[in-house]
Structure formats: C-alpha cells, structure tokens
C-alpha cells in the first residue's frame, strides 16, 4: 500500500493570494488556485481518496471528476520534484 502523498521537505513554499510559489533547488514553480487547493491537503496523512473527498466537500464538484483532477495534479507535482518519494 502506497504512502499518502506529501510535500517534499526540501520545498520552500508560500501562499500568494490564491496561488502558491514553490522553490526547490534554484527553481521556482507557480501553482495555480486549483492546484493550491490540492497542495494544501498534502499533509502526508491524507491519502488520495481522502484528498478527493475533502475537495468535494469544499467545491461540490463530482467525485469522479475530482479524482481524475487530483491524480493529474499529483502526477505533475511529482514530475516537478515537489512531492516526497
């Protein structure tokens, strides 16, 4: 069973309005507002279904759509090296 997704500890990040700036290894990344919603839920304890459920409660969007979106966002954050593991 895979571990819940978590922010990489080497990432220095800060909210800026409804977006987030993430810095790692000399590179700066900007997370847009929807990605920021996911980013804030990456506490290392909530697994993917829990994140989807939390977003569903906040946004009211359908769970299947949110599940696909969260999967895509996690993939992209992983590619950028912003996630642990």
């Amino acid at each position: 069973m895979s571990r819940p997704p978590a922010r990489h500890p080497a990432v220095h990040w800060r909210r800026l309005d409804d977006e987030t700036l993430c810095y790692r290894d000399g590179a700066l990344h900007r997370l847009d507002a929807p990605t920021t919603l996911v980013w804030l839920l990456l506490d290392g304890h909530s697994d993917e279904p829990a994140i989807v459920q939390a977003l569903h409660e906040v946004t009211g969007e359908p769970v299947p759509r949110l599940a696909a979106d969260v999967r895509a966002v996690l993939g992209r954050l992983g590619e950028l090296g912003l996630l642990e593991g």
Partner: protein, 274 residues
C-alpha cells in the same frame, strides 16, 4: 572624485579631456562615493599612434576599441555589470523604476520590452528616476537602492524620444555610437529619486505593435514568476527569494502592459501611483 554605483565606488581617469568631460556628464547623477573601501578605477589611456582606445579596469585591459565612443559605451556597460556584481547581497531585478514620493512603480521585463523608453517617459511626466536597468532592493526592508545610471536608449526608442538625441555639435553627438546615453537630470533637472522608496505597482511591459495601450491585471503569482526570471544572482538568496518576492508583491498592484502607444502607456503607468 569617486562616485557610488550601487555597491561599487568608481573613479575615472581618461586621458582624452573631451571624452573625460563626456563621461563625467553622463555619470553626473551618481552620488559622491560614501564607501571607505576599495575604489574601482576605470582608465582610457591616450590611444597614441595606434589609435586604439583601451579600456582598463584597475590597470587591466577589459577590451579595446578603434572609436572613443565605443570605448565609452564599453566603460558604461562594464560599470553596470560590475555595479550589479558588487551588490549581490541586494535583491536585483532586471527592471526599470520610477517613484513619486515614497511610492515606486517597477517595470520588469526582458531586453526590448520597452522598459527604458517607458522609464524616460515617466521621468518626463514628473516621476523621479530610480533606474532603467536594475532595481536593487534592500532585503531587510525592501526599499529600493537607487541606481541612477544614464538611461540607455537603443535605436528602437529614438523615433519616440527624438528630443533626447545628442545636441548637434555637442560632445555627446561626437561620441555617440550605437545607443544614446541620457542622464535623468538631462530629461528633467532634479529628477533623481533618493533612497527609501518602496514598490507599489509592478508592471510587466511588452512592446507589441498594434496593441495601442492594454493594461491588464495579472496575478501576483504570475508577476512573481517574471520577477524571478529577471533576477540577477537570485540563487544567492536561496529559498529566501520566495519570501522576498512575496513580501515585495503583497503591497503591490500587478499588471501586464501591451503597448505601442508611448504617450498612452506612460499615462497608464502613471495612473497606477497616487
């Protein structure tokens, strides 16, 4: 007399008295040096029979030129680079800036985006000059350290600002080659801003034929990315650069400016400050 160029103290020793007079007039907006440390000496010795103008920094050749105007351009270019390098402890943005009172507008973008042309227009419109090239921010309080180098107007700006051309028969006309170097105090006497200003508006200009004047809001996050891309020695600040950019941008309005109408663009940017 030594002058202050950001974190650098400089002194000139130019054998050609006309060239010396020309360069001194261009650097007239730099304050006398306040540093008790090293003074960097620029020298253009007598070209002698070879008619080659050597540019020396602290006795070492930087480069050599067949025309004195090219040597002057090279000196100003090297001075700018060295001033920036000597100020790496500051947050350095490739940007122009002007101010009214304590409130500054920062114009950040790549070369050719129209920063210097807009900066010149803003100074003409009554704003005080901070820089046309590098906005240097004190990381402790995010106030701007003025870098009042002469504005460097490339050929693309000349039709928009023809009145800033070197005066006929002047030393400036004699020594000008590829760019016009214009001290802010020539554009408007007394127009150089002092220390202590803070950014209140950040504009990302882009000279765009056919655009007219389009000033549009952008998110602070988007502005942050552009500022980061235009940072010199940003890596020196490590992760702290994120906090500096956020602290800088939080009190600012942030905009993209597409323009080909110089007067309209100046008015639009001017309206962003109280």
């Amino acid at each position: 007399m030594a002058r202050q160029a950001l974190g650098l103290s400089i002194a000139l020793r130019i054998s050609d008295l006309d060239l010396e007079s020309y360069l001194s007039s261009l650097l007239c907006d730099l304050t006398p040096s306040t540093s008790s440390g090293l003074v960097e000496g620029y020298e253009i010795p007598d070209p002698a029979a070879e008619r080659v103008y050597q540019l020396l920094r602290d006795g070492r050749e930087v480069n050599a030129h067949f025309r004195p105007g090219s040597a002057a351009d090279a000196l100003l270019g090297d001075l700018n680079l060295r001033a920036i390098e000597a100020s790496r402890h500051l947050l350095l943005l490739h940007a122009g800036a002007c101010a009214i009172g304590d409130d500054a507008v920062v114009l950040c973008g790549q070369s050719g985006s129209g920063k210097t042309t807009l900066t010149a227009g803003l100074v003409e419109s009554g704003l005080d000059y901070l820089t046309d090239e590098t906005v240097a921010l004190d990381p402790d309080d995010l106030t701007i350290v003025p870098w009042p180098k002469p504005l460097t107007l490339k050929r693309g700006s000349w039709p928009v600002l023809p009145h800033l051309a070197p005066e006929p028969g002047s030393l400036a006309e004699r020594f000008t080659s590829d760019v016009w170097h214009v001290p802010a105090s020539r554009i408007r006497p007394g127009s150089v801003a002092g220390p202590g200003t803070r950014p209140r508006a950040v504009v990302l200009p882009s000279y765009t034929p056919g655009a007219g004047v389009r000033l549009e809001p952008v998110s602070r996050g988007e502005a942050a990315m552009t500022l980061f891309e235009q940072t010199s020695y940003g890596a020196d600040h490590g992760p702290r650069v994120v906090d500096l950019l956020c602290d800088l941008l939080e009190p600012c309005t942030t905009h993209r400016l597409l323009f080909d109408d110089h007067a309209g663009a100046v008015e639009a940017v001017r309206s962003l400050l109280p």
